[in-house]
């Protein structure tokens, strides 16, 4: 008996009770569809988050500080502001020069952040000024500025504002999502009325004229506001995946940032505690490695210098473990759905035994062996598994496309670009179909065994 003979007999049997066969196949299709969808969802989510992190340079950037800012210290209630003296390494220009010499490092600059208010077209908000060197123009997120351009020198009297800041000011650009605009009651203004326009940067400085207040009982501080006028050079899109330094605010060249007068709270703190030499000039330094594979080595090397490093990238192992758990949980849901459909196969084949009992008896009287009878049932189940598997994968793909579109429609305002939440690959399709066939054959073992042991004499007696 050749494979084509068995297939021919099996398909003939499936055709005989076509409605029941279709229902069984649909049962398997639902199971396989659920399995493939769940696996692709798990894979899609983990791939998208990893991709987002990678494109946002979370795997290449790290923050170096002279003090241990590890969250464990917070948890253990040790003050992060007053670490033990022996743990502090001052961050100075020589530290930056030292870090720049490392072969893995692509970019090093101090993280200088100044608190400020900005005023634009009569609207005022509080934000931060962040000093970013012009070399950052080739790195994310500044390599993809679609509105305006990034500055060319470290002393340009201009700023790059993030889209979030524009929204906080109550403005939006014409090409933005209409739902988002109406939801947040934003005013749409043309690009020309932003790019090249003046932005008032208001900072707080010491007021020497009010220095007497320090010795009086007045609760007023000897400070005043100073306005600096800077041109808006470009608008950068940042999102929730961007690292802290680049997550939003106003970006300006380092020298320009230096010119903007502002009380340096760090300096005041050091001055009052006489700790300037201890903490150094900078609070933290941003280090960017050439490739994410170099991150771990660079981190170890920097830590060898007694510095402390924080990066999302070295949390990748934890993240991968989390994704593995997510993938496993989703796959388990899919497998359970498929196993439920297996009962349909068992039921169909057992019904077939009762209906075809006499036929099996005739076959055995004609010399069919137990193995040949078993093979007919195995192939029937495998056919159900194959057709159900293919239909399930196609159905799963269609449903996941619809779900993906719906999710993108609703989350589009939160996440900038369209995300494929379901990641189908040839291996998922292959594994789902093969798994469906294997499970179907396993489901047919009991019915096939039962059919092969039918007593031909007993079967032929029944009319």
């Amino acid at each position: 008996m050749t494979i084509s003979d068995i297939l021919s007999i099996s398909f003939n049997n499936l055709r005989r009770n076509i409605f029941r066969s279709i229902l069984t196949i649909l049962g398997v299709a639902v199971g396989v569809g659920a399995l493939s969808t769940m696996i692709s969802l798990g894979r899609g989510v983990s791939m998208n988050i990893a991709k987002q992190m990678e494109t946002n340079d979370l795997f290449t950037g790290m923050t170096v500080s002279g003090r241990d800012l590890d969250m464990d210290h917070v948890n253990s209630r040790r003050s992060i502001l007053s670490p033990k003296d022996e743990e502090i390494v001052p961050l100075t220009d020589s530290t930056i020069a030292d870090l720049k010499r490392m072969p893995e490092v692509a970019m090093v600059f101090p993280e200088i952040i100044k608190p400020a208010s900005i005023q634009f077209r009569g609207k005022k908000i509080n934000t931060n000024l962040k000093a970013v060197p012009c070399e950052m123009g080739v790195f994310h997120p500044f390599d993809n500025i679609k509105i305006g351009t990034f500055y060319k020198t470290d002393s340009d009297p201009c700023v790059i504002i993030s889209k979030n800041v524009l929204h906080q000011l109550g403005f939006a650009l014409p090409n933005e999502d209409i739902e988002h605009i109406s939801e947040h009651s934003l005013t749409v203004i043309p690009v020309d009325s932003v790019i090249g326009q003046d932005l008032d940067v208001i900072t707080t400085v010491f007021d020497p004229e009010k220095i007497d207040l320090l010795t009086s009982t007045s609760k007023q501080l000897p400070i005043k506001n100073e306005v600096t006028n800077l041109k808006i050079k470009g608008i950068v899109e940042t999102n929730s995946f961007s690292s802290g330094m680049f997550s939003g605010g106003i970006f300006l060249p380092p020298l320009t940032c230096e010119w903007v007068p502002c009380i340096d709270l760090n300096y005041v703190y050091n001055l009052m505690n006489d700790t300037q030499d201890k903490y150094g000039k900078y609070a933290s330094i941003h280090v960017r490695v050439k490739d994410h594979s170099l991150l771990k080595k660079a981190k170890f090397d920097i830590e060898d210098k007694g510095l402390h490093v924080f990066s999302i990238g070295d949390k990748l192992d934890d993240l991968e473990r989390l994704f593995y758990i997510l993938d496993s949980a989703l796959a388990a849901i899919g497998i359970i759905a498929l196993l439920i459909s297996v009962f349909g196969i068992v039921n169909t084949l057992i019904m077939a035994i009762y209906e075809r009992r006499k036929e099996i008896g005739i076959m055995k009287s004609l010399g069919a062996t137990q193995w040949q009878i078993k093979q007919i049932f195995y192939y029937e189940a495998a056919s159900i598994g194959t057709i159900g598997g293919i239909v399930g994968v196609i159905g799963g793909k269609i449903i996941s496309e619809i779900a993906s579109n719906i999710a993108n429609h609703h989350l589009g305002t939160f996440i900038d670009s369209n995300i494929e939440y379901f990641s189908y690959s040839l291996s998922i399709v292959g594994i789902s179909i093969v798994f469906s066939i294997i499970v179907s054959i396993i489901a047919s073992i009991y019915p096939a065994n039962k059919a092969s042991k039918i007593d031909p004499l007993d079967a032929l007696r029944r009319e």
């Binding site: 008996m1 050749t2 036929e359 005739i362 076959m363 055995k364 010399g367 137990q370």
Partner: protein, 255 residues
């Protein structure tokens, strides 16, 4: 000069002290009791008896369909009652062809597919399978009914399809269980003549169960009369050959 020719008979089946019992309450009922006889090659044996005499039970034991009995049924020096399932399948596939009173054709298969079925199980070359089945149906006068389903055939046609199916693997023995039981007199005669022709012309051994003593005596070499599971009489007949009878149309058959 006078020559004495001794014709050496070849025994195909040797039945020795075959008994089959079943229990009814505390009583042991004999379906067959101490049956012994031989079936020679080319012999036409009829087993005759009333309903419940054990005819079909005996035939099922000869066909390897039932092995739950005492005694022995030898084929080729091997006891069928001790054979494993696989050996029994091979025996049913290559040694015997079975014909049933109710034809036992598979209703979802065409006549052609029914005839091809034993060829599939015996791994007959796929390319030749259809030709062989068509030849058999043609010889049975059923070529134009090859693609018909059993429900579209008359009783006589269905039984001829069943005979074609039994002959598909060129068996040594045909076991026929009341082959004319569901047929009218004329069709019964046709079927009996067909079986007789196979026996005489092609030396196919036939063991036929029937309740028709007259037909049995007419066509068979040996008639075994069963009653309550016991052989009460074995008659050696001089069968009447109808093969040269030109008054009736006989099928020309090549196996």
């Amino acid at each position: 000069m006078k020559h004495n020719f001794v014709i050496k008979k070849l025994t195909l089946l040797k039945i020795q002290n075959l008994s089959k019992t079943y229990k009814k309450g505390d009583n042991k009922i004999y379906a067959l009791r101490d049956i012994s006889f031989d079936v020679e090659k080319g012999e036409y044996v009829s087993i005759v008896g009333k309903s419940g005499s054990g005819k079909s039970t005996l035939l099922n034991l000869l066909g390897g369909m039932d092995t739950n009995a005492e005694g022995a049924v030898y084929y080729d020096n091997r006891n069928l009652l001790e054979m494993k399932e696989r050996e029994l399948s091979n025996y049913r596939k290559s040694v015997i062809g079975m014909i049933f009173q109710s034809f036992n054709l598979i209703p979802s298969h065409t006549a052609l597919d029914n005839v091809m079925l034993p060829l599939i199980f015996s791994s007959f070359p796929r390319a030749l399978r259809r030709t062989r089945a068509c030849e058999l149906l043609y010889n049975m006068g059923l070529y134009n009914r090859a693609l018909h389903y059993p429900s579209e055939l008359s009783g006589g046609e269905a039984q001829r399809v069943a005979i074609a199916r039994a002959l598909a693997n060129k068996p040594q023995i045909i076991l026929a269980d009341e082959p004319t039981g569901n047929l009218d007199t004329a069709t019964s005669r046709e079927i009996i003549d067909l079986l007789q022709m196979f026996n005489r012309k092609h030396q196919i051994t036939i063991v036929m169960v029937t309740h028709d003593k007259e037909t049995a005596n007419r066509v068979s070499d040996k008639t075994i009369l069963l009653s309550d599971g016991e052989i009460i009489k074995t008659t050696i007949n001089k069968p009447v050959y109808n093969l040269d009878d030109s008054s009736t149309q006989k099928p020309q058959f090549n196996l």
